[in-house]
Symmetry: C2
Amino acid sequence: MKHPTFAQPIEAYLEEFNRTLPQRVRSQVPLLNLVVRYLLRSRGKQLRPMLVFASAGACGAITDRTHIGAAMVELLHTATLVHDDVVDQAPMRRGLASINAIWKNKVAVLVGDYLLAQGLLLAVEHEEFDFLRVTAQAVRRMSEGELLQVQRSQKRKFDEETYLRIIRDKTAALLAACCQIGALSAGADHSTQEQLAVFGERIGLAFQIRDDVLDYTSRSTILGKPAAHDLREGKATLPLLRALEQAPPSEAQAIVRLLQSSARRNGHIQRIIAFVERYGGVESAMATARTLVEDAIAELDSLPPTEFRDMLIAIARYTIERTK
Amino acid sequence: MKHPTFAQPIEAYLEEFNRTLPQRVRSQVPLLNLVVRYLLRSRGKQLRPMLVFASAGACGAITDRTHIGAAMVELLHTATLVHDDVVDQAPMRRGLASINAIWKNKVAVLVGDYLLAQGLLLAVEHEEFDFLRVTAQAVRRMSEGELLQVQRSQKRKFDEETYLRIIRDKTAALLAACCQIGALSAGADHSTQEQLAVFGERIGLAFQIRDDVLDYTSRSTILGKPAAHDLREGKATLPLLRALEQAPPSEAQAIVRLLQSSARRNGHIQRIIAFVERYGGVESAMATARTLVEDAIAELDSLPPTEFRDMLIAIARYTIERTK
């Protein structure tokens, strides 16, 4: 497993985490173990457990409770990825075939449910009821955010307020939960927990904005998924919203009409991408993401200067500097 | 809402339950509220909340905690039904179009996740950590049972031990949880809780066996779904397993070969149904279900004779007498 260099202070913890995670999900059903082994083989960036460990370290102590919290958020995150791939009929995930592609939707839905239950049970078994409260709320908000996004695409509405609410729920809520759980596991006081949660929410918003920007700027060979994927699905993300705001009204209206027409032809997509470019949608969105990251980092001011705090700052910067 | 006559002792509680349930799931996302309203309009038998209330009554007291427990199990059960319909691509549920049929799989998967999280949050918010432990375990077992069933269908194995494990996990675990939560909410001691859990598990097994029997005996107009549906999906349930056991080996082997052939022609299905009839598969399965129900009822012997205990006994009998 290769982690970014900023992960160095928690490398030993991450190794233990990765060694013990499969044991935490072992089932008596061989098919389930097979699917879970496959899932855990193709781990992603592990941003969420990293945030748990770094937050705990920055608050003074990485404990056994930190390990429980990290495992919990990773299981819940994995559960939602598996369900997302069903929902999006995605054939690939992290360069490998998706669970639904190999084992069909039935298995994918059930494995997602299993991982969700198992993640929550981990907290129940260790009597980590604060972790439970924080994460069950995050899971609820993730489904609410996704559903709001579906509704918004259907209604073809393009306001920034709803966009921000969606990304706050679907992405930022879980990153906020990760940081708060890290703080909780270190025994931090309420106001420090709150600071970490705000830090997590802000980098979560920045992370998602960067994702939405990459959908406009990266080629499919880099990202492993087709660029302008969101646009093809009728999702109007921040770069487009900002271009609509900055363009002359007549031109913006023409684009809105294109977006509202039910046919999403390739020619339309190319025209919208060019429009976003012309009116600086990407730059405007990135400026917002940068402000969010700086505001996030400011939340850490009162923490003692440690390698863990430095790592949180590095993660915050990474959310907007990454190219995939 | 029309409930069976045996529900009379808890009718007032059920009415309050049905009045308050929509408020417990209210979201800020209009689409979600719309789907949930639709779901709650077409309620089923409400067997699970009934078991919670009757168990609490039989243990001495229906309390505010009982209401929380009943709402929790109903939300979790509804979540799994919504996911089941995605998994089975079912167009109908309880005589109405399924969520996936109206709003597509994406919305159905997300609404299921939301209800799951919301059900667990209800317990978190009321600090009912014992409820949480019991139900999160049940949810995990439900997905494990369903996955074991998928695996067994793929492998085309026909042993009774695996069949019983599947129905114990996928159906009986949640009914056991309902009865245990009822007992917990009444402040029952550990051994009484355990008795109620065993009662619930046994009627759960009987309930599923009856379901599997009805799949062989009822016409699609009664059940609202095609008879021999399980068989068409490659599921070998108890009536078939018992017929295989009782038939002469050569005849049983011929049927196993039919089951193992990948083509499931209508002629095959009819031949297998006739085989199950000829060798008394249905009667043998029902005899087992009856024994389970009597064993379940025996678990209630030490409880004081109340209308609630009578109701539990009536529910137990109902699980095998029902015709849909």
